[in-house]
Amino acid sequence: MNALTLQNISYEYEGTNRVIFKDVSLRFGAGKVTTIVGKSGAGKSTLLSLLSGLDVATSGRISFGGKNLSEINRNRYRAQKVGIIFQSLNLLTNATAIDNIILSMNISGITGIDKKTRAFELLARVGISREKAHRKILKLSGGEQQRISIARALAHDPMLIIADEPTGSLDKDTEANVLEIFKSLAHDDGKCVIIVTHSENVTAIADEVWGLEDGVLCLLPVQTDTGGGRDVCNPPRAFESWKE
């Protein structure tokens, strides 16, 4: 089942002629972890902005559940359907960890649950203690902030989880824990997890790995069982060649 579909998406930066994508078509399946790799400046974060409804493509159509993103309320889409983990985290720094998560639930309009309890559960899931949950974001380490950002993205139980380098500041154990969470969200809960990464550990849990270069996306041959009929990179390239 497809959660998100891109049809002939093109994108160029406003006021410039710099083309980031040209006629990109892609389907992101529910219940799968999809990773996107590519060198810096290739447009990976821009792609995530388009998928999360923060930006609009120059042309083409992005559909969620069969509905065109440009025709639905993108505020509601971001608040209820998508959990975004930004590379730069984008947490409210003068608020506490728990406040950040509860605010996300409030914005999504979730009702009928004890928000505080759910927030504590999510924080515990990513390894943040109750004591730290009450600390202001600026008083927490980079790794802890990253985990709070992940917990916030899951707070409103979104269908889509979009993550930009979600494990960049994490130690190995925490990274493994977070990747297990992503895997479980996709495989057990049927969520669509899309991750932009440079980390081999992250691509290792992916069901699909796509490479982005010169405005073109192609499927890396690491998952031969899922690549049939898709734009498999030609010639096939190793993951290392997509890194810096």
Binding site: L54, R76, I84, N90, L92, L103, N106, I107
Partner: protein
């Protein structure tokens, strides 16, 4: 509901900026309160003085013309029976030309013309003048008028300067909060809710400053008025009072200030896209 809670929590989180904003709003409200209280009170005193003097009519000969019939004491008394007269003060006086001082207090200052016509028909010679004391109004209330006009000028200056500072401060404040607005919008918060949150913050600050400004203004109005009136010749003792008009005026000014800042916030938020804010920051 969560927007209100978030806004109120934000008040405590951004103490420095909010205190600065509060101090300026407080200063503007206090200054406006003092000037408005002085303006209104002096206005009332001037009006009352004008009314009192306008009702006070003096009937006296312009000059003694020998051979002309003069008005007797009894005649002056009979004039007091006019329907236009509220009360009269007729007495013998060594200082007046005819030896009689006749002052009539009319029911209304506007009755002067009718009253004079009645006196003329009842035999008051043309050599007698029927003059309201309003003519001496300028002498009595000159300083008060100056204070009244000065307070109005000061009020206008305070409002223009206050509005200018508020606009400037709001613009700086909203730019400082650009990131926060970007994050909230990226999380899917609607523009109007972000704007509502900012507006609740400024309204809360304004309400606190309104209460404090009222207290400070009440304490300061009388001493400031006394200082201004001190040393002025023919000064009238003005007791500055806070009436409903002053309170309503300050409330209006407070709402105006909050609206100015709110308008700046809303117009800015309407223009900004979260992706641009977050990209610029990063």
């Amino acid at each position: 509901m969560y927007v209100i809670r978030h806004a109120l929590l934000n008040l405590g989180k951004n103490k420095g900026r909010n205190i600065l904003l509060g101090v300026i709003i407080f200063a503007v409200i206090t200054a406006a309160f003092v000037t408005l209280a002085i303006f209104n009170t002096t206005g009332i005193v001037i009006q009352e003085t004008r009314y009192t003097l306008g009702r006070m009519v003096r009937v006296a000969p312009r000059q003694i013309v020998y051979g002309e019939a003069s008005v007797s004491f009894e005649q002056f008394l009979s004039f007091a029976e006019s329907e236009y007269v509220h009360e009269a003060d007729i007495r013998e006086s060594r200082t007046s030309i005819n030896g009689i001082e006749a002052i009539y207090y009319l029911k209304q200052p506007e009755m002067l013309t009718n009253f004079e016509a009645e006196l003329r028909s009842r035999g008051l010679p043309d050599t007698y003048s029927v003059v309201s004391e309003e003519l001496s109004f300028e002498n009595v209330t000159g300083n008060l008028e100056n204070l009244h006009n000065l307070s109005l000028t000061f009020l206008v200056i305070v409002l223009i300067l206050g509005a200018f500072i508020m606009v400037l401060l709001s613009a700086i404040s909203i730019r400082e909060r650009k990131y926060e607005v970007g994050v909230l919008r990226a999380m899917g918060m609607k523009k109007k809710k972000v704007a509502l949150g900012l507006w609740i913050e400024i309204i809360t600050i304004t309400c606190i400053c309104f209460a404090l400004g009222m207290g400070a203004g009440t304490m300061l109005s009388q001493p400031i008025s006394d200082v201004i009136m001190t040393g002025q010749a023919d000064s009238i003792n003005v007791n500055i009072s806070v009436n409903a008009i002053t309170v309503m005026g300050i409330l209006g000014i407070s709402i105006l200030l909050a609206s100015i800042t709110g308008f700046i916030s809303v117009s800015w938020i309407n223009k900004c896209e979260p992706i641009k804010i977050l990209t610029e920051r990063n």
